[in-house]
Amino acid sequence: MRDLPRILRRAAGSAALGLLLGAAACAEVDGSATGAEGSDPRTLTVFAAASLTDTFEELAERFEADHPGTEVEFNFAGSSELAGQITEGAPADVFASADTRTMALVVDAGAAEGEPRVFARNSLEIAVPPDNPAGITGLADLAGEDVRVALCAEEVPCGAATRTVLEESGVDVEPATWEPDVRAALTRVRLGEVDAALVYRTDVIAAGDDVTGIDFEEAAAAVNDYPVVDLADAPQPDLAAEWVELVRSGTGGGVLEAAGFDVAAPE
């Protein structure tokens, strides 16, 4: 009975946020009317980088199990888009970003309650189709004449990391396309339109058998830190703090690690 609205909420993108909140409000009214558990249902709203989709949804199930009557609602999108929404006053409890730079925007705007904490790290990997048609073994192979490569556009976080890696290594890659986000780059590989893409390791793991990941040394030059913070205007400040705790806990770390993240050492 609960599954349908949850699926709906999660399927909705950030653009539909307004509608989504409206729907949540209705759901709340319904909940109190039926008075299923006698306590008010509470909703925790988490704005999170798109690369956290799978791990955070898994964590949400645990969170909801541990907090009966609480529902976790997500807005997954690009970090900078989310930061923009938060500084414009979108009602959110928690913000988890894919880089420290966008997090800084939120902190500078005074929208953060506590201190942002890095809870995970992600690094680049070369994604190739399972049959690896171009025979890629390392970063230098991407510069090959006939190798078709998809890279993240420099404007987005994975693109910034890509640029750092390429600059540090001195490999000169001429891509077929600069993709607007990491999943788009990965999709190119899945569809076989490119021979390789530079994407995050977590994305390679999420793609399962459709792509193969190739680690490369130079990736160390650009490791992405994922900070999380509870927000100043959080409608549910205590739930927000508990969520931050969860993602930094051993449970959270296990889930994140399984997805390909490096879990930050406790500070």
Binding site: A153, E155, A176, T177, W178, A184, L191, E193
Partner: protein, 273 residues
């Protein structure tokens, strides 16, 4: 005095029939469309406008947009007008289904359209794999792919518009041409087409505008590479990731150029004898 007052009242009666019932929602509708535009203008970073504008990427993207949208319109005309004719003038079985299919690109999200194009014309696509295996040719990530994506999303506008014009056209003119000895082909070229020219023009403008603003199918099918496949909407989207101010500048440039062209064309048409 009395007479003058009377005449004034008469004038008021004549002019007082202002259709408020229509005017109020009309003004509201216009405001709804224009307000976001004003927002763009108000929030535009005018102090840095010039320097942002002069970036070579902007010119590159703008030129690419104009060229591809125009090419897409030309292709749409070439394929869409005969298609519209087929829908409007023949009794083909399954015509309704065909008409519904034509409007599919209007309904599905352009991104999905782009994926569909990849599935067919991509390097491993249903047809594309042969082009790649036999000739080593692959359409995605080329300027031609941009045009293909734009044609896919924009052509239905042309077809719908032209089909409407063909249905509205007085077919007796075609009868007249037939009695004068004209064959079907000649009737189409010399009578039907000129007759529906306003509809074709309106459809072409819609098609061009749609192609110019095309984003989803383009980025999915043609990718994003400056000077080759990065059209203005793609440039706007990417600029949005980093600096919304740049995105606003780019949008305003696209807006200004397209408005100038459309208004210029309108003037040209109405000025024609």
């Amino acid at each position: 005095m009395r007479a003058r007052a009377g005449s004034r009242a008469g004038v008021r009666v004549a002019a007082g029939r202002f259709p408020w019932l229509l005017a109020a929602p009309a003004v509201l509708g216009l405001a709804f469309l224009v307000a976001p535009l004003l927002g763009l203008l108000l929030r535009a970073p005018w102090s840095t406008f010039g320097t942002r504008l002069l970036m070579p990427e902007v010119r590159e993207a703008l030129v690419l947009s104009l060229v591809t949208a125009t090419a897409a319109t030309a292709v749409s005309l070439l394929l869409g007008v005969p298609l519209a004719w087929l829908l409007a003038r023949t009794e083909l079985p399954g015509r309704r289904v065909v008409r519904a299919l034509v409007t599919v690109p209007l309904v599905i999200p352009p991104v999905v359209g782009g994926v569909a194009l990849l599935m067919v014309l991509g390097r491993r696509g249903v047809l594309g794999q042969y082009a790649y295996d036999w000739f080593g040719y692959s359409l995605p990530f080329t300027t031609a792919a941009v045009v293909v994506a734009q044609v896919f999303v924009a052509m239905p506008f042309l077809v719908v518009s032209v089909e409407g014009a063909l249905r509205a056209a007085d077919r007796r003119y075609e009868d007249a041409a037939a009695t004068l000895g004209a064959t079907r082909g000649m009737i189409f070229r010399r009578v039907t087409l000129p007759m529906v020219a306003p509809g074709v023009a309106a459809g072409a403008v819609l098609c061009w505008a749609r192609a110019l603003g095309e984003f989803g199918a383009t980025i999915t099918f043609a990718g994003n590479f400056p000077g080759r496949t990065q059209t203005m909407p793609l440039a706007v989207y990417l600029a949005m990731q980093e600096s919304p101010e740049s995105a606003v500048v780019l949008s305003l440039v696209l807006l200004a150029v397209s408005l100038a062209i459309l208004i210029g064309l309108r003037g040209h048409w109405s000025g024609a004898p």
